[in-house]
C-alpha cells in the first residue's frame, strides 16, 4: 500500500489560548486517532522535530555554507511528521482530516514515491 507523510506545520503561537482542558482533549483525541490507525495497520511511524532553529546547508559555488534555520518568526514550520499507509490521496486526506493537529496548525500530505521497474 502507498505511504504518505503528513507534515505537521505550526506557527508556535497557536497554543496561546488553549486551556489545560483543551490540551487534554486534543491529546486524548490524538491517542484515539493513533490507536485506530495502528489497529488498522495504517500507522507507519512519526517524529517530533526539536523546536528552534536547525541547520540549513547550501552549496555556494565551491563550498558548503551552513546557516542556522529555518527561522520560525511569523510563519509555520514543520514541527513533526507522521507516516501513514493509505490506498489513495483521498483516503490519506480522509485520515489526516481526523488528525487533531488541525486544531492548531496545518498539515501537508505528500505521497512517498516508489517507482517500480
Amino acid at each position: 500500500m502507498p505511504k504518505y507523510t503528513l507534515m505537521l506545520r505550526e506557527d508556535g503561537t497557536a497554543f496561546a489560548g488553549l486551556s489545560p482542558a483543551d490540551f487534554q482533549a486534543i491529546i486524548q483525541r490524538y491517542g484515539a486517532w493513533r490507536d485506530e490507525l495502528q489497529r488498522a495497520g495504517r500507522f507507519a511511524g512519526g517524529h517530533k522535530l526539536r523546536d528552534g532553529a536547525g541547520r540549513v546547508m547550501r552549496r555556494n559555488s565551491s563550498k558548503v555554507v551552513v546557516t542556522d534555520g529555518p527561522f520560525t518568526e511569523g510563519k509555520e514550520v514543520i514541527g513533526g511528521l507522521f507516516v501513514i499507509e493509505a490506498a489513495s490521496y483521498d483516503e490519506a486526506v480522509k485520515i489526516a482530516n481526523d488528525c487533531p493537529h488541525l486544531d492548531y496548525g496545518s498539515i501537508e500530505v505528500r505521497e512517498v514515491e516508489v517507482t517500480r521497474p
Binding site: 497554543f15 489560548g17 488553549l18 486551556s19 489545560p20 482542558a21 483543551d22 490540551f23 487534554q24 486534543i26 491529546i27 486524548q28 490524538y30 491517542g31 493513533r34 512519526g46 517524529h47 517530533k48 523546536d51 514541527g79 513533526g80 507522521f82 487533531p100 493537529h101
Partner: protein
C-alpha cells in the same frame, strides 16, 4: 492511561509547587512554565506516547522551563538594568532557588527536591488562601481561584461568568500584580487562615451558586463549577483542619452541608425536553442519596461551634427539603422560620422572595401574594424572573388566571436560562387555558 489524565489538576499542582518554591511574586512565571509543559506534552506525546507517570513528567518539564525563564529574566536585567523595574524583582537568590529546582548544580538541593515532603494538598490549600486574599476585589478572587487552583482557562472562566475573555485576562493580571506589590507570602499561618477564611468560603459559595443557578451557558462548565466548589470545600475541611478554630471549622462544615444537599438535587432538576422542574415536580428518587447523607453529616459537624453563619441557615433549609420523602411532607413552618433568621442575617431581596414563598406554603397563596407584593417594588427583584414567576404561580393557585398569565409574561421578559424559559412558556400556556384544571 491516557483516559486518566487530568490536566486541570496537573496545571494547578505545577503552579502551586513552583509558587511555593519561587514565591507568589513569581506566580505568572509559574503559570507560564505550567502552560509550556502542557504545550510540550501536546507536541511530544502524540509521537512518543503518553509517559507512564504523566504528572511527574509534566512537573519536571515545568521545573526546567521555570529555570530557563528565570535565567532569561536575569540576563535581561544584567544587560539592561532598567528592565528590572518592569519585571518582578529578580535577585540572584531567586536564580539560586531556581537552580535548586533543576537540581544538577546543587546535589543537596536536588535531593531535597526529590524528597519533597509537602503534600500537594497543603500547596493547594495555600494557593486557595492566596487567590482569595482579601486585598483583591471579590470578582478577582473568584477568577484567580478558577485559574490557579482549578486549572480553568481564561475562556472557560469568561464563559462561566458571561464576561469577555479580555476582561477576565485583565482582571487576572491586575490581581497578580496586587499580590506581588503587597509581597504576600506563600506559607499559610494560623493568622492568615483566620483572616482569610471568610473570603475563601465566600468564593466557594459563589462558585457553587454560579454553577447551580444554570444561567445561560454551557451546562458542562457549570456542573464543573459545583464539583470544584465541593472539592475545594473538602480540601478545606481536611487539609485545613489543623488551622481552624471551632467556629471556623463549623462554618466550613455548614458550607459543605449546603453544597452537598443542593447538589443532591442536580440530577432531578431538568426533566424531559430540558424543562426545568420545580421542587414539587421533581422525581425525588433521582436525588443523590449519598450526597444527602454527606450533607447531613456535615450539618451535624457544623453544630460544633457557637456561631450561626448564613451557611448554617441555608443548609438547614436545604436539609428540610432533602429529608422530605414527598413534596407534601415538607416542613414549611420550619423553613419559614429559617428564612426569618436568614433575612435578619442577609436582608437581600432574593431571600425576602424565598421567605414569601415559604409563607405561602404555610399560610396559603393569598398570604404569599401579600408577602410578594410587599417586596415587588424592589428594583433588583423587578428584573428577576423568579419574582414574576412566583406571582404567576400564586395567582394561579387563587384561580386568578389573568394575573397569573401577566406574571409569566413578565417573567419571560426577564433574563433567564433556556430550561427556565421553556418552563415559563409552559406555565403561561397552562394559565391561558380557559377551562379550569381537573381536580
Amino acid at each position: 492511561m491516557i483516559d486518566d489524565l487530568n490536566f486541570q489538576h496537573d496545571f494547578a499542582h505545577i503552579v502551586a509547587t513552583l509558587t511555593r518554591i519561587l514565591g507568589p511574586r513569581h506566580l505568572s512565571l509559574a503559570e507560564e512554565a505550567a502552560q509550556d509543559a502542557l504545550v510540550k506534552a501536546l507536541q511530544l506525546w502524540p509521537h512518543q506516547g503518553t509517559p507512564a507517570n504523566a504528572s511527574a513528567w509534566l512537573i519536571q518539564v515545568a521545573k526546567n522551563r521555570a529555570l530557563d525563564l528565570l535565567r532569561r529574566q536575569q540576563r535581561l536585567i544584567e544587560l539592561e538594568p532598567s528592565t528590572g523595574d518592569r519585571l518582578p524583582a529578580m535577585q540572584p537568590e531567586a536564580v539560586a532557588t531556581a537552580a535548586m529546582i533543576a537540581g544538577p548544580g546543587d546535589p543537596s538541593a536536588a535531593a531535597r527536591l526529590r524528597n519533597e515532603t509537602t503534600p500537594p494538598d497543603d500547596d493547594q490549600l495555600a494557593m486557595m488562601f492566596l487567590a482569595c486574599h482579601p486585598i483583591l476585589p471579590r470578582e478577582a478572587r473568584v477568577a484567580l481561584t478558577l485559574k490557579i487552583v482549578c486549572g480553568f482557562g481564561v475562556g472557560e472562566i469568561a464563559h462561566a461568568f458571561l464576561a469577555r475573555d479580555d476582561a477576565i485576562a485583565q482582571r487576572l493580571v491586575r490581581a497578580k500584580r496586587q499580590l506581588r506589590d503587597a509581597d504576600v507570602g506563600f506559607e499559610l499561618t494560623s493568622a492568615d487562615y483566620a483572616e482569610r477564611l471568610d473570603s475563601v468560603l465566600d468564593v466557594l459559595y459563589l462558585l457553587f451558586n454560579e454553577g447551580y443557578a444554570a444561567h445561560a451557558g454551557d451546562r458542562l462548565v457549570r456542573s464543573d463549577l459545583c464539583r470544584e466548589a465541593i472539592r475545594l470545600g473538602d480540601l478545606l475541611a481536611e487539609a485545613g483542619a489543623r488551622f481552624c478554630t471551632v467556629n471556623g471549622a463549623a462554618a466550613v462544615h455548614a458550607l459543605l452541608a449546603l453544597m452537598h444537599l443542593q447538589a443532591a438535587r442536580l440530577p432531578a432538576r431538568v426533566g424531559d425536553d430540558d424543562v426545568l422542574l420545580r421542587l414539587a415536580d421533581q422525581d425525588r428518587s433521582l436525588w443523590d442519596a449519598s450526597s444527602i447523607a454527606r450533607g447531613l453529616q456535615h450539618l451535624d459537624a457544623a453544630a460544633s461551634g457557637d456561631t450561626l453563619t448564613v451557611y448554617h441557615v441555608e443548609a438547614g433549609i436545604a436539609a428540610c427539603h432533602a429529608v422530605a420523602a414527598r413534596y407534601e411532607d415538607t416542613d414549611w413552618p420550619r423553613i419559614a422560620e429559617l428564612y426569618d433568621s436568614l433575612l435578619a442575617m442577609k436582608p437581600t431581596p432574593v431571600v425576602a422572595l424565598n421567605r414569601a414563598i415559604a409563607i405561602s406554603r404555610v399560610h396559603g397563596p393569598r398570604a404569599g401574594l401579600a408577602a410578594v407584593d410587599a417586596i415587588a417594588g424592589d428594583p433588583v427583584l423587578a428584573r428577576y424572573y423568579l419574582l414574576h414567576a412566583t406571582l404567576g404561580e400564586l395567582a394561579l393557585e387563587t384561580d386568578d388566571r389573568e394575573r397569573a398569565a401577566d406574571g409569566f409574561r413578565a417573567a419571560l421578559a426577564c433574563e433567564c436560562s433556556e430550561p427556565e424559559r421553556r418552563f415559563l412558556e409552559k406555565r403561561l400556556r397552562d394559565a391561558c387555558r380557559t377551562e379550569s384544571r381537573p381536580g
